[in-house]
């Protein structure tokens, strides 16, 4: 379109190198759909198709072999909503999220402040706080499973306790939370550290000149400057924590924990799919879970948007 319009508008003799250049430049940015194609193929096969398939399967009574599935309408969803075990599992995931998110956010912030303000050996603090994040979830879980085991575990020994961390309903989730804090706080810590380093020094210098003390500088400069990153850390942690699975199953020897108290939503879904072979029912739960996750993500986007509009 643009190209033809230009060649009409510009007299033939004035069609200099510049005009050709414009044409070339414009053409340069056209027709690039091929760049996206390889990604789209993978995305379609392993994200879009499974989602659509999940929706379809959730309306059937399919088993793991995938044969002889018949349409059952909304039965799976009806059953799921009346399934106490599903609500319990969802409750465990939510409870875990509720415990982990505030703790991890606060801890990551404090660790970042510490690492940012110590002048010596920065690399060493970074290494120590971040190293656990580099371990596979199962390894971190095994380490803590051993530390928490009553009798042979060093945790009770070190603190002079005799708590049945892994075998008592009231402690099991707490043990998983402690493990998760240790294992994953390094990631949020790095985000906070990067954000702290991104705050321009001149803000602090100006505040000092105006006579603000350390506390004032923290409340009026550091914390407001960290607001965005805090939102991000909380959102990422909520999404990750709701998907609790690895640590919990490994620490509980692939079982549901004492009195089913640590069975997470993901674990229950996979049990239905791979142990009870109820693929249709498991798919329905997957779709329910997807809706929950999407609601959280969209909620955050809406929140960001209103906040942006508020500051404008």
């Amino acid at each position: 379109m643009t190209t033809s319009a230009q060649s009409v508008a510009v007299p033939a003799r004035a069609r200099t190198a510049t005009a050709t250049a414009t044409v070339r430049r414009k053409q340069g940015f056209q027709h690039g759909g091929w760049f996206i194609a390889p990604f789209l193929v993978l995305f379609a096969l392993f994200v879009v198709w499974p989602l659509l398939r999940g929706v379809w399967l959730s309306f059937t009574d399919a088993n793991i072999s995938g044969e002889g599935a018949s349409f059952v309408g909304l039965d799976n969803y009806r059953e799921a909503l009346n399934d106490q075990a599903m609500w319990d599992a969802l409750g465990h995931s939510a409870y875990f999220t509720l415990l982990v998110v505030p703790c991890i956010t606060l801890l990551a912030f404090l660790l970042a402040m510490l690492a940012h303000h110590i002048e010596r050996g920065k690399w060493l603090w970074r290494l120590c706080f971040f190293a656990p994040f580099l371990l596979p979830s199962t390894v971190a879980a095994n380490m803590w499973q051993w530390l928490f085991t009553q009798g042979i575990g060093l945790f009770n020994e070190t603190f002079g306790l005799d708590t049945p961390w892994l075998t008592d309903k009231s402690y099991a989730m707490l043990a998983i939370v402690i493990t998760t804090l240790w294992w994953t706080v390094g990631f949020s810590f790095l985000l906070y550290l990067a954000a702290l380093q991104g705050i321009p020094d001149h803000l602090y210098e100006a505040a000092k000149l105006d006579g603000a003390n350390a506390w004032h500088r923290m409340v009026h400069i550091t914390l407001p400057m960290l607001r965005n990153i805090t939102g991000l850390v909380i959102a990422l942690q909520i999404l990750a924590s709701l998907q609790l699975f690895d640590q919990a199953v490994v620490m509980m020897d692939f079982g549901p924990g004492p009195e089913l108290s640590t069975r997470s939503f993901v674990q229950y879904t996979l049990e239905q799919g791979f142990t009870s072979y109820r693929v249709g029912y498991a798919s329905a739960m997957s779709i329910i879970f997807f809706v929950i996750i999407a609601a959280v993500a969209l909620g955050r986007m809406a929140l960001l948007r209103t906040r942006e509009e508020g500051t404008r």
Binding site: R24, R25, G28, F29, H31, G32, G33, W34, F35, I36, P38, F39, L42, F43, F46, V47, V48, P50, R53, G54, L57, I64, G66, L114, I118, E119, W125, R126, L127, F129, F130, A131, P132, L134, L135, P136, S137, T138, A141, N142, M143, W146, L147, G151, I152, E157, W182, F187, I229, L232, L239, Q243, V250, V266, L270, G273, F274, A282, F290, A297
Partner: protein, 285 residues
């Protein structure tokens, strides 16, 4: 030489607040390192000593018996190679595919682009944890259960990485590419000779993050294979080594073998990795 000495001398002095902060930092660091140290010590105990009540930190008798046993059973070296194969393939594919897609979204015009972008971004909400069972049946239908490809390919469509590179490419001044177009360079040449070199830090960030995530991935390999010969490190350790009567010394040795490579790499490439993780995380803002 003298320059470094001068710099050392002009370092800031130990003020009281610095001393306090450093002490706190050291104490917290000990808490963070203790579990890893405990694992290391345990791996150097005999199995009997590892299960002793009451437990103790440092081995009374140092022995590498657990490490030897681990090697002799043979599985672990297999798992290590599998982990390496899977992570390297995933990282390579993700880098190529998401760099191309990120550039495509940033710099080309076609009908329905923004709609497509929206669809891709909604992929951020989908993971094997969320859609495990349907994803498994899809891969099953493709006949890829218990294969390398079955483990690798589903990890190769990360919307997040496309988004990060898309944001980066958008930030490159268009003039650079335009100048090259005027000189008669084609699309692909511009991409490989101008855009990719500029994007090296971002590509490194994406590559590092993908490698860590894939090396440590447990859930997907766990779903897609039961075959001990195909398992990756985290998966083999968690399922096979945990299955018949846990041998703690061996388990800790195996765990360290899975975890230490990344930690050692981290010590050497700390700056790049920190930048990489922070960069990938911050891009979500």
């Amino acid at each position: 030489m003298s320059a470094t000495q001068v710099r050392l001398k002009t370092r800031k002095p130990w003020t009281p607040s610095q001393i306090v902060l450093t002490l706190i930092g050291a104490a917290v660091s000990i808490v963070f390192v203790a579990p890893i140290a405990a694992a290391l010590f345990t791996s150097l105990k005999s199995e009997a000593e590892a299960a002793e009540i009451p437990p103790h930190w440092v081995p009374k008798v140092w022995t590498t018996q657990a490490w030897k046993a681990l090697w002799e059973t043979g599985n672990v070296s297999n798992w290590f190679v599998n982990s390496l194969v899977v992570s390297v393939c995933v990282t390579t594919i993700v880098l190529v595919v998401s760099a191309l897609a990120g550039y495509g979204f940033a710099r080309t015009e076609f009908r329905g682009k923004s709609l497509l972008m929206g669809v891709v971004m909604s992929g951020l909400m989908i993971s094997p944890a969320v859609l495990g069972v349907p994803l498994f049946t899809t891969v099953q239908q493709m006949g890829m259960v218990d294969t390398y490809w079955g483990m690798i390919l589903p990890q190769c469509a990360p919307a997040a990485m496309v988004y990060i590179l898309y944001k980066f490419f958008q930030g490159i001044p268009r003039e650079l590419e335009e100048a090259a177009f005027i000189d008669g360079a084609g699309r692909w040449r511009v991409f490989f000779t101008i855009v990719v070199p500029l994007a090296r830090p971002s590509l490194a960030a994406v590559g590092i993050f993908t490698f860590i995530a894939s090396w440590n991935n447990f859930l997907w390999p766990y779903m897609v294979t039961n075959n001990p010969d195909l398992m990756t490190m985290p998966n083999g350790i968690a399922t096979v080594m945990n299955s018949y009567g846990i041998q703690w010394a061996q388990l800790m040795a195996g765990g360290l073998m899975a975890g230490l490579p990344l930690i050692v790499v981290f010590v050497f490439f700390q700056r790049q990795i920190v930048a990489g993780v922070a960069h990938t995380g911050l891009a979500g803002q």
